[in-house]
Symmetry: C2
Subunit: 476 residues, 2 copies
């Protein structure tokens, strides 16, 4: 036999593949992505996830995490992260802030960051159960901004469609008010004139200011996402575009196929396309499609606090997201990136900001927001879970009296270090009608993190159940 | 004849090429790169370059710029920049700062930025001279940090060679003093132990702090350059490496081929290689090789102000640069990127900070620093020029008396808005011996920008000569 055949590159490649597959069977690996809409507590969530795993065999409280309950967890440690260009997730800094005598919330992360954990465990069944060697699960947690996920639907839109979308958003009086400086600058633009970069830059900056103002008001449907978090693109023409809304000047209504080359409108449309192709797509092509599992955090309470319009906006943001996120055969995700995500968790964060008897309602509220899109996701074989968590539990529960009845109340520290006791209100099980909002005033508090004292593990609500859903099948 | 042959892809490609070449003959194009060592006044230089061109036919003073002198310049305007991901060079903001009633220096640029100018002119000779149509030169100016250029020689170094280089730098007492916190952390490291990312991160941060401290002291040879300007790599493991200097602990001396996989040393070496391949190389491969002409600004006066050691350090930084920058057949640049740079300007900046009679010396001083390497550059067909410029002239010259003799003195505004008159000292024509520095105290001032009054053009020294050298051959 001619031994040179064995060296043939194709054969070599096949052998490499077989070896890789074999290695994967022995060394399990989960690529978990965590993101959340603005202010949803992503940093606290990842800090807690890492903390519960690292402290699982110490004083962490994880009754619903089977590998711990069954005494099969050998140990967990942080390991060298695979992607050298992603920021290292600052777990240690976060724990330092939380462990202070006057605990502080960790600084929120910017852009993308990563942490790898090695989870050593004993097999529960099969031949390997009887082998003395422990198995290892490698868990990579990648943290990326929810704003980037909100950009995904843009990939499936023409510039005209995007303008239409922006126009329908601006029909809302709250947004129209915040957009005034942008809109009046836009009204003075002549889109058919020869392009002037400086004019476009100035109007684009006003558009970015409008998005920042929306964010401050608690609105969630903010895109293009890089306008909020520009990173290295700050000041670059890649972000100097905006919607040419037709309502303020009939000149602004145009057919994109008839736009003269080198005109303002031409530059704007080119930049929109460049943004899709060179800014949005690379993240999904290079990173997103490698994720196995995804957590999306949502702050429903903040939306309730801010009133009907913010609540509606959160609903729109979720619709906007799920429209492309449905993993159906026709979705953008599948057509462009074929991600392999098989489990998806939607978590309403800050569950410790309502009394325990309201937490069920909080989950129902989130579920009512997800309902229509969730069906599609399940249909396509992606397991989903909706839950309410407190990554770091900040409150204790007590009993109080309201109009003669005993009711549950919350006790926590406010930002002046004072202990406050309150009844934050009832959480509706679904979106109440507009009229309801005028009468009811939700008032969910903002608590400071709890004093850890000697403990190294973070108190939480239901983080163990999330761990079970995300990891248990790979720890068997 | 079979017309389908004409549609053959190869023929089509050739036709495209011919068309492209023809277009290039008509529409000239120059891709000019500007960089400078730290504090050399890059932003002021580019602002002035753009300003002189935009105002060339108004009140700019450009006697040495032939196309203006010969009355052939039709007009210059800013045009849409070609690279959408580079920051737009903030010319307008810079002019706003300079045009204030109390003028301020423009903020220095971070990372890479760009500006495109279209220069319309009349041909001076040839057939086209008699054609009524004006010719156009497109000038792209790309501004990038000198720190990135200092990283270039790393590409040709193994990790051991880099450590040796760092070791020789640290032999200097000034640097050794600043490196103390880094060195004592390094001494505690066990490079053969299993890697711990957090330890490496902490030591790498001390190394970055050492580089920042060097920069504050006026030192120039600072690399890895991304440690000074990390951009989106801030906090990423790609920057978590450092030199394992062998002098402090014999454990730190090792053979890189015998380093155990997964050890601290292994991670460090991998990251050094990753830095070369994924951080340094892309800039040169994607951008640098497209540059036609290069300006390198050097602040010789600051080095003289800071004393012998800083002067020597500047000399070393220039050697370090030119060693790979010589465009010889064996240089890194040629082997890896084949840049097409054919003209190179070394400019000593801030020539207005010495009296006119000393400006000749300033050029001679710069030339003495460049001498050995320059020969190689000229030998390889790259035209080089050394000059001294003031991008924005801040001083006036008068006559004063020193010990009975009339001498030239400078008058300018200090940062309190007061007019000061002084004799800044004589500039040596070459590096004086070490002993000389103890006796002589150079004291070159820091002036504020001049009051522009009604004028739109910036006063300067020799920017017109630089323009002539860089552009004149393409404006004929």
């Amino acid at each position: 036999m001619d031994s040179s055949i064995l060296q043939h590159p194709n054969i070599q490649r096949t052998k490499d593949k077989v070896r890789l597959t074999a290695a994967r069977l022995v060394d399990h690996h989960i690529n978990l992505a965590v993101t959340g809409l603005s202010g949803s507590g992503k940093t606290a969530f990842i800090t807690s996830l890492v903390n519960q795993l690292l402290e699982a065999n110490e004083d962490a409280n994880l009754p619903f995490f089977s590998v711990v309950r069954e005494g099969r967890l050998v140990g967990v440690k942080r390991d060298v992260q695979p992607n050298l260009s992603f920021r290292r997730f600052a777990y240690e800094d976060a724990m330092l802030s939380l462990s202070k005598a006057e605990p502080e919330w960790p600084l929120s992360t910017k852009g993308i960051s990563q942490v790898r954990l090695k989870i050593k465990y004993k097999k529960s069944s099969g031949v390997s159960k009887y082998l003395s060697k422990d198995a290892t699960l490698t868990l990579d947690i990648t943290d990326y901004p929810g704003e980037w996920l909100l950009d995904l639907p843009l990939l499936d839109m023409s510039y005209e469609q995007w303008v239409e979308q922006c126009q329908s958003e601006l029909a809302e009086p709250v947004r129209a008010e915040l957009a005034k400086p942008f809109l009046s600058a836009l009204a003075a633009l002549k889109p058919m004139e020869v392009a002037d970069e400086l004019i476009l830059k100035n109007i684009a900056e006003l558009y970015a200011e409008y998005l920042h103002a929306c964010q401050k008001r608690g609105l969630q449907l903010l895109q293009p996402g890089r306008f909020i978090l520009p990173g290295e693109l700050a000041g670059a023409p890649a972000l100097h575009f905006f919607p040419l809304l037709p309502i303020y000047d009939s000149d602004l209504s145009f057919d994109s196929k008839k736009v003269a080359k080198g005109s303002q409108a031409d530059l704007i449309i080119n930049r929109f396309e460049h943004y899709k192709l060179k800014v949005v797509q690379p993240f999904f092509r290079e990173h997103f499609k490698k994720f196995d599992r995804q957590v999306i955090l949502v702050d429903c309470l903040n939306a309730l606090n801010n009133g009907y319009y913010c609540y509606q906006d959160l609903q729109k943001a979720i619709d906007w997201l799920l429209g492309s996120f449905q993993y159906g055969s026709s979705s953008i995700l599948n057509r462009l990136f074929q991600p392999k995500i098989d489990r998806l968790v939607f978590a309403a964060s800050k569950a410790d900001h309502v009394t325990p008897d309201q937490q069920g309602n909080l989950v129902k509220l989130l579920e009512s927001m997800l309902r229509s899109a969730r069906k599609n996701i399940q249909f396509n074989g992606v397991k989903t879970e909706s839950t309410a968590v407190a990554s770091i539990k900040t409150s204790r529960t007590g009993l109080g009296e309201l109009e003669g009845d005993n009711i549950q109340v919350l006790q926590g520290q406010n930002n002046l270090g004072k202990t406050i006791t309150l009844f934050p209100g009832e959480v509706p099980q679904a979106c109440p009608p507009a009229s309801f909002w005028d009468a009811q005033n939700f008032e969910f508090p903002n608590f400071m993190p709890p004093l850890l004292g000697g403990s190294h593990s973070l108190p939480h609500i239901r983080v163990d159940q999330v761990l079970e859903f995300l990891l248990a099948d790979k720890l068997k």
